[in-house]
Structures are given as C-alpha cells and as structure tokens.
Subunit: 342 residues, 2 copies
C-alpha cells in the first residue's frame, strides 16, 4: 500500500488500472459477474496499491441504503444500556453494519432530535432504549417505514418488535429465592414508575407473586427517589416491624442497580447487616455486587444476548422479512450471595 486510503476515488482506481469506473464498481459489488481474470487482476492490484476504500457516503446516496443501524439510548451512563450496546454492536458488525449511537443523556426532549438525526443519515433501522415520552407519534413520521426494535422499554401504541428481560420471571425468581431463604416479609423498591413499562411489569409481577403466596409471605411496594432517602429508611423500618410480628426478618427486592445502592446506603445508616438483619436481592448484576457487605445477591440479565437478539430482529426486517411483531423475553439468572442468606 502506498499513500492515501480515503481520498482516492473509484475514478483514480479506474485510471490506474486502465479500465472504466464501471468495471471497478462491478469488481467491488458483483464478483459473480465474471469479468476477465486478466482485468479483474489489474483492478485488484490497483485497489491494493492505492489502498482504495469506497466512500460509504456516496454508496448510501446512490443505493438508498446506508448499512447503518441507529441506536438511541436514554443514558449511556447506565451500565445496562452499555451492556446491551455491546451485544448490538457485535451482531451488527458480524452482519456488516455499523452502529450510529445517539445518547439522550436522560434528556427526554432530545429523543425527537436523536431520531431525526439518525434518520437523516438514512439509518436502515432503529434500536430504541429510551424513555419513550412522545416517541409513538413522532416515530411514525420519522422512520418512514424503517423497522424498529424496542429494548427493555415498551412504548404503548407502537406495534413493533420488543426484546427484554422476562420481568415476571425475574421477580418470581427473586421473591421465591427470598422466601426459600426464610424471609416472609417482602418489599419491592422501585424508582418512580414514570410510565416505564419494565418498572410497571415488575411491580405487577411482585403483586401477583404476593397474591399467590399469601400463605407464606406478604409484601409491599415503595417508590424511591434520590432526594428522599428518609422515605426509604422509613419503609425499611416499617417492613422490619411487620416482619418481627412473624418473628422473621424483612427482605427487599431492588428494581435496578441504582435502587440497590440506595438500599445499601439506607441499611448502613440503620446500622443493619445485610443478610442478617435484612435480605436483599437486586435486579441487575454489577461489578461491585460481590464486594458490598457480604456480597449482594442479584438477578443477572443476559444483556449481551438481549442486544444480539435486538440487532438480529432488526436486521431480519431490514432484509425485508415481514413476520408478525415479536415479543422476545429472556430469563434472568439468580446470583446468590450473602445478602440473601440469614
């Protein structure tokens, strides 16, 4: 290879090889169209010598397809989103697609801007993990028939593929684990529902579990906000009082990693010991879970797999498939640690 890799155009290669642009283009795109070996060779050599790379921009313009997938995430700071991103990225790469990322930074009003920006780059499909405030209406105008896959958060009124943790399974898994460990007074702590489907589903599943297991356990739910640590502490204390009426300890299910951390802080403030004085299972595995207190039991989401599936669903539709809308739910895995052992 000699000099520039990007500035060279197909015309340069053609000239260098002593053929027409069309021939070079055919060599690149339609290898099957048998061009005489001699010519093919000349082209190949020229391409190699010049380090020629086609301009995806020009290709996209001409073809109408960009080989780009648009990924919109609510908050790139969220480890869950990053983990999914990795799966998406890998699947896209294997299929020859490049990922165009748009991060909302939790500013929901940028959602429309993000979709528009991606749309203007002619992404061939969208993967959305967002708040979904007004996406429904907006999206229809912006996507122009391009497929969409939703991850983790379902938007009502948007009839598209959906890939997510099986929230009911995850909650049942956690609750049953805690009950099996001897806890009878359960508390589900969630961030404000804010109409986010995954949070609502987990809440609903929890209530269903409690209803089905009234004989062996009772449970309550509470929303936790960053600013109101006292409310959480109160909820914990009340749960403990109720538990002691049954001569047991209370146990908490944390709806996500953020809440898990808040509970850890509250428990520390109360001077309780995780596992001993209160049980805890957190949804979402984290790097620090093994090292906080006696280790925090978690439900591990198959994030990479979720991302891969989302990308594959999308690319299948990009490829023209018209199968009915799918809901793909993957089970979580319990990682038992000290926080759920009395």
């Amino acid at each position: 290879m000699s000099k520039s890799s990007g500035r060279n155009t197909i015309a340069d290669v053609a000239r260098h090889a002593g053929v027409s642009k069309a021939t070079v283009s055919r060599f690149l795109n339609h290898r099957e169209t048998l061009l005489s070996p001699e010519i093919a060779d000349r082209v190949a050599v020229a391409i190699a010598e010049m380090g020629y790379t086609p301009s995806p921009m020009a290709q996209a313009l001409k073809r109408g397809r960009s080989r780009l997938i648009g990924l919109v995430v609510a908050d790139i700071t969220n480890p869950y989103s990053v983990a999914v991103l990795r799966g998406v990225e890998q699947a896209c790469r294997e299929a020859g697609y490049l990922l165009m990322l748009f991060n909302l930074g939790n500013e929901i009003d940028r959602e429309s801007a993000g979709i528009r920006a991606l749309s203007s780059y002619r992404v061939e499909g969208f993967i959305l993990n967002t708040m979904g405030y007004d996406a429904g209406a907006l999206l229809e105008t912006a996507r122009q028939g391009r497929p969409i896959v939703l991850v983790d958060r379902l938007h009502q009124g948007l009839d598209v593929d959906f890939v997510s943790l099986d929230n009911q399974q995850a909650i049942y898994l956690s609750a049953r684990h805690l009950v099996d460990a001897g806890y009878e007074e359960l508390l589900l702590v969630s961030e404000p529902l804010a109409n986010i489907s995954s949070r609502i589903e987990r809440l609903t599943a929890f209530q269903a579990f409690i209803a089905e297991h009234a004989a062996v356990a009772s449970g309550t739910c509470v929303e936790s906000r960053a600013e109101e640590s006292d409310a959480l502490i109160n909820a914990l204390q009340e749960a403990r009082v109720r538990a002691q009426a049954r001569s047991t300890m209370p146990a908490v299910i944390a709806n996500n990693a953020v809440v898990t951390l808040r509970i850890v802080a509250a428990v520390a403030r109360l001077g309780w010991r995780l596992g001993k004085d209160i049980g805890l299972v957190g949804i979402d595995e984290t790097e620090w879970a093994p090292y906080v207190g006696p280790g925090i039991s978690t439900v591990l989401q198959p994030t990479a797999e979720l991302g891969r599936l989302a990308a594959q669903c999308l690319m299948q539709r990009v490829g023209g498939s018209n199968v009915p809308v799918r809901r793909v739910l993957l089970p979580g895995t319990l990682v038992a640690r000290g926080s759920s052992q009395q």
Copy 2:
C-alpha cells in the same frame, strides 16, 4: 408539518415553493445573500410544510466535510471512557458536530479497523482513547491530515494534542492525604503497565513522592492481575508487616476503579477493616464508592471537562488552526471518605 421528514429532497421543496433548487440551497446556507423577503418566505413555508431536512450524506459528499467527529474507545464498558464520552458529545453537539463512536471492546487488533471505518465516513477529526498498539504508523496513513486528540493515553511517536488527568498531581494528592492521615507505609497497586502511559506516569509520580518524603513515609509498588488475587493479598500482608515495624497501618493507592475493587475484595478476605486496618484511596470516583465499607476515598477526575476540552481542541484544529501541539493536564479532586480515616 405534514408527512415525511427524510425522503423529501431539496428539489421537492423547490417545486413546492415554485423556485429553483439553488434558491432553496441559498436560503439554507447563505442567509447573508439577500434574497427577496417574499421569496425567502415562500421557501421558509415550503420547508416547514414539508418538514424538510437536508441529507447530511449528500452535503458531506458535496462539501467534502461531514460534520462528523470520530471517537475511538478502548472499552465502552469502562465508566471512565463513558464519562469522557459524555463531555465530548456535549461539546460536539454544541458545535453542530455529530459523534461517530467506534468501540474496540478491548480488542486492540480492531484499532486499525476502527480508524479505517471512521476514516471512510470522512470524519473531520479523531478523538482516541485506546490502547494504541500500532496506532502511530497506522494513523498516519489513515488520517490524511485530519487532526487527532489523544485522551488519557499518550502514544509515543504521535505528535498530537493530548488531554488527560494530571497524573502526578493525582498521585501526590492521594499520597499526601494518606500521609497526613497518619499512614506511613504506602503501596501503589496498578494494573499491568502494558506500556500504557497513564499507568506509567502514576507509577513514576509515586516513586518520586516516596523519594521526596523518605523522612515520613516509605512505599512500594505492585502490579495486580485479575487471575492472581493471592499476589495482591501477599503484597498487602507484607505492607502491613512493614507498617507495624513503625507502629502504623499500611495504606494503598489504587490506580483505577478495577484495582480498587480487587483491593476491597482482598481486604475482605483478610478480614481487615478499611480505614482501621488499612488505608485506601482509589483513583476514579464511582457510584459505589460511598457504599463500600466505610466509604472509599477517591480521586475524582474531571471527566466531563476532559471530554469537552478534547472536543474543543479537536474542533479548533478542524477549523484550520495551526497552534503548536498541546498537552492539557487537569487536576483531580480528592473525595475523602472513611477508607482513609484511621
């Protein structure tokens, strides 16, 4: 607004407004070129009615500039990288640039692929936070005069702008804090140097600090690998023996958050109490630092600011500036918690 936002072309708008494409283009780009208010109005209305958005692809093709900045990250899973990313993103957005992210997923051999991919999309500049294995040689061929800014990791032989934490200051800050807190036996724990400049700088700074403070403290260094937790435990125990010879407790500086977690695990295995039996300051603030043990003291990097500066440096050069190569070092901030209080 009425229907499609992306498929409409400048020709559609022109037709709709009863003017030529050139006029619409001028309205969009050269507002200064006075077009008659009446015509300008017609165009404005047409654009609004059709929800027209120019195609960045076509613009890039024509202009030769894409308004794209390429960001290559060694590992998107690393919270540090994500934090910097947010700063970069914001600065780019404010300047009307979009970010094209390429994640290496810690596979260094993908570095060249990443740079090539970005390059082929005609990004106007690169921000690199990578391992930098062979970047030096490679880059020169791929970047074609496009500016580069390095973040956190300097590549030798690459004479470009560099933005990073002031590693010496961070180490001095940590070490002095520990000495002031009464610890006299210091231990620096680092991941394998692997020729990564930031790790080497911190090590060097630590050795310098020890040399300058021989009267009040002594110190050693150790590399930690994920697979060798025993080595770390041994190093900790040896440090304690040395400290006890001076009737004090040992203290550790962790080179990054990963190492911090390993130290926490080792300390737990030893049955020691953070702060009491061993001091700890970790470089890199994390969400979990307040909740592990008595709270872990950290050095907070101004990540968002680092990202912003990197982006601004880059865009200044993209704008044509030819100022001499810069090294921008920002100081860290100590967040004192229980792990450094005896």
